[in-house]
Symmetry: C2
């Protein structure tokens, strides 16, 4: 007993939480109860009209089926139901007349007509573009069969069809009246909010990625949920995942929103709901780059912290400016404001340019000249042992990774410092290539799982070469991160363009504070 | 008239195409017609039982609603319908007894109970984990209201409830019998096929990306459908897009598949359908890298063709090996075979290793030493004009791009060849940095849209610096491509792991040709 009491309390708590997170759900439930109550009342009170109560089931059915969360969905279902009933009623009456003419073959005609209609309607329903009318086809079939069967028994085809239609109309109007007059919930508004939320989600993911990357935050173990693309509560991951996953939700909402009459801030007759989806699509195109940036964090080939620190301020600046642009666009959509004459991308472009210039000046950090086949200055790679720093070895081992399985490193060698031999080259100020910062020390290492093949017995020289290969890959990962970030900035233009198209078509208002211009 | 004849012919042609592409749809439609025919027959012949034909609508309704494309969906809907009807019937009978006790307040009790039940059920339905039972809640509401209303009028609560339940059972059993006995269509099989298709899609996308990249295939104009993530018939794009979009389809199919009894090749009782989704998720994690690779093709900062050609064979090898692994895994899933003792990743790891080594030896191609602040050898960047090749200028202009808008290049400068000044550095064999291959010549250029700001008036020196910045970015894009490809290979391990988990749990058979082992 105590157990079931605990269960009850936990269920009650969940229900309470659900209501608190979205009070509209409570309102909607109450509205549904009200609509059902009203339709029952009508049927009670109309007792004198025998017919009505006999077919009361149709009215109840209609209310339960048509009463949907948003106005758009209710309208679209109501339309489907009405159209399906009307056309099926017409067809059924026609076939019924014919079947009577058939005389003693009447039953055969009815049964065959049911088979043919059932097959054809089902087949038509399966056609992809018919998807939104799926419900209408079902209603058509139900109505057709019902009128044929019950009409045959009562010989009142017309009466059956008309009563049925009246009751459905009654149910539908009660549903619509309750749903629209009391605290209406609009699909268009939901779509609007969803798009804004997507902007904020990507902004958060972007910031998280960039600041995580420059601060060398690492995943000690990549959650397997991320590896198999399941929902996870990692904030960076869930930010972009929810944007990717919202495609189908957006499609559903836009399908309902176009049914809704002008209302609230959406005062136009043919409001451009599809443009919201387009903006969201352009944002998704940006989100793919954020995903790739996150991939750099998830990858276990990681650039050394020293090198990241060199670009820290520039990367951070681009990340912050990019997130700011996204948030500003999100807010503009929320407030339904036009862009105005300020170039919203100015700051992020400046930041990206600064990053590019820095990359240009410092691109030697991305490469490891030791193994260049064109030679690497006076000191050749034949004598690297002179510069071994044995105490770096243990740190370097932390770098072993999933990714390295791919490049089959069997023995981990030694980091070499460039500092000792840059005199002739004019090099100065290059940090050791393989040293990691402290917060990476606890990382678990997944050693290569492939057993050493006979022809790849680890030799000293082999291993050394592998090490350099790895070093080079690890530094290039920083280059990858910066390129992806710049590409992200480039894709922002596309988001801004889609936004401008939307703001034109939807007649957004001019920004509140006009920028001071000459 | 001729017009409508043409319309009719085009509709008929589409219908024919639909049937040819998936003959199961024709079979399913015929089955639906058959089920409707059978239920109508039953109701006709049972005419003596007055009750049955009076409530015939329930049987018809049940057939139309429960008869779904796959067995799993039919079973799950049938279960929902049965459970909803039973529990609502029980509750309604209880409340009806109570309302009779209430005497003159009976109507009030009934109406209030309808309101409360309606609200509570609707609220419960909105709870996220209740989503699969949404249909059950609807049935519950319909049944409850119907029994209350019609029971009150006829005073035959029990009779109404029982008849209704019997007719629903009749409809459900006709649906199930027809659907399972005649050419059953299994959701599990669909899921299986979908996962295999996803593997093939990613393999095609990967091959397309890599071979497109090394052959310098370019988008003259990136289709706006890609930029806003809409469906497009670009093969590379649609390959990975369909994999991303299939999430919701997979979720739906797995929800139905777990309802299906063991059948065909899926002989276990609790067949691990969720593992198929997991494999697909791991594949999706790989697909993100393919998307990023495609991003490199879409980006308008492009590496020069010469440099790509240097890595051509290695990149191509990794791409081909990666696609081969994906296809092999896909085929193994299709044939339900285990991996066997051969290391499926051996070849692609070797290829990735070769690529990495080449990258290591040639990473000077990724950078532009001219602007290194640490100096770039004997020749300093102060005197680059000596090496101008004016005829390269026009070619270089092709490189202008969307991405460059981000780095605000106002004046396009001149490519510089390294060849002329590599004597002291030991450089040899480096192609000119900015020259593009012929198939890029016709590219449309989107010039920066941002008007020059007062403080960024293009100066000669500025522009030159920009040029180098651009050159550096363009070469780094090749580095990005290779890093992403290596990361893709690393992520393959994860797909193989998920596949092994699946093959264990689902008891896949050992491969047909056992590898020759000692």
């Amino acid at each position: 007993f105590a157990d079931s009491w605990k269960n009850f309390r936990s269920v009650a708590f969940k229900a309470w939480e659900l209501g608190r997170s979205d009070p509209r759900k409570i309102v909607f439930s109450a509205k549904m109860g009200l609509a059902l109550m009203l339709i029952s009342l009508l049927i009670f009170f109309k007792k004198p009209v025998e017919e009505l109560s006999k077919y009361s089931v149709w009215a109840i059915l209609t209310v339960v089926v048509v009463f949907e969360f948003s106005i758009g969905a209710t309208l679209s279902k109501g339309f489907n139901r009405g159209l399906g009933t009307l056309s099926a009623g017409g067809l059924a009456l026609g076939i019924a007349e014919l079947s009577v003419l058939a005389g003693e073959w009447e039953e055969v005609v009815i049964i065959i007509s049911i088979f043919i209609t059932g097959s054809c309607m089902t087949y038509a329903k399966l056609y992809p573009t018919m998807k939104p009318y799926e419900y209408g086809f079902r209603v058509f079939l139900i109505t057709y069969c019902f009128i044929m069967v019950s009409g045959y028994q009562t010989r009142e085809f017309v009466n059956t069809a008309v009563t049925r239609f009246l009751l459905i109309a009654l149910g539908a109007s009660v549903s619509l009246a309750v749903n629209i007059c009391i605290y209406p919930i609009w699909a268009g508004e939901d779509l609007h909010i969803l798009v804004v939320k997507n902007f904020m989600g990507i902004a958060t993911s972007l910031e998280g990625c960039v600041s995580g990357y420059v601060n060398c935050v690492e995943y000690k173990r990549v959650p397997s949920k991320i590896l198999t693309y399941q929902a996870s509560d990692d904030p960076v991951y869930s930010g972009y995942r929810s944007v990717l996953e919202s495609t189908s939700q957006e499609d559903a909402l836009v399908g309902f929103a176009i049914w809704e009459p002008p209302h609230g801030p959406y005062k136009m007759c043919k409001y451009p709901w599809r443009n919201y989806v387009k903006v969201s699509g352009a944002l998704r195109h940006c989100a793919f780059m954020v995903m790739a940036l996150h991939g750099c964090m998830l990858s276990e080939i990681q650039a050394p912290a020293e090198k990241r620190r060199v670009f820290q301020s520039e990367l951070q600046r681009v990340g912050t400016a990019g997130a700011k642009v996204l948030r500003e666009l999100g807010n503009k959509i929320k407030r339904m404001e036009k862009l105005g004459s300020v170039d919203i991308l100015y700051e992020v472009h400046e930041a990206a340019e600064a990053l590019q210039k820095k990359v240009d000046r410092k691109s030697y950090l991305f490469v490891n000249s030791e193994s260049w086949e064109i030679g690497n200055g006076p000191k050749q790679m034949k004598e690297p042992h002179v510069f071994l720093k044995i105490d770096d070895k243990s740190k370097f081992q932390e770098n072993m990774s999933l990714s390295q399985v791919a490049i089959d490193i069997n023995l981990i060698p030694i980091s070499k410092s460039w500092d000792d031999r840059n005199s002739n080259m004019g090099f100065k100020n290059i940090g050791p290539a393989g040293v990691r910062s402290e917060n990476m020390l606890e990382k678990q290492i997944s050693w290569p799982t492939r057993p050493p093949k006979a022809d790849t017995v680890p030799e000293e020289e082999d291993a050394e070469e592998e090490s350099k290969t790895y070093e080079s890959a690890s530094a290039l990962s920083l280059a990858t991160f910066t390129s992806l970030l710049v590409e992200f900035v480039a894709r922002l233009q596309n988001v801004v363009d889609s936004f401008e198209e939307l703001s034109e078509k939807a007649n957004f208002k001019e920004p509140v504070e006009p920028p001071a211009e000459v």
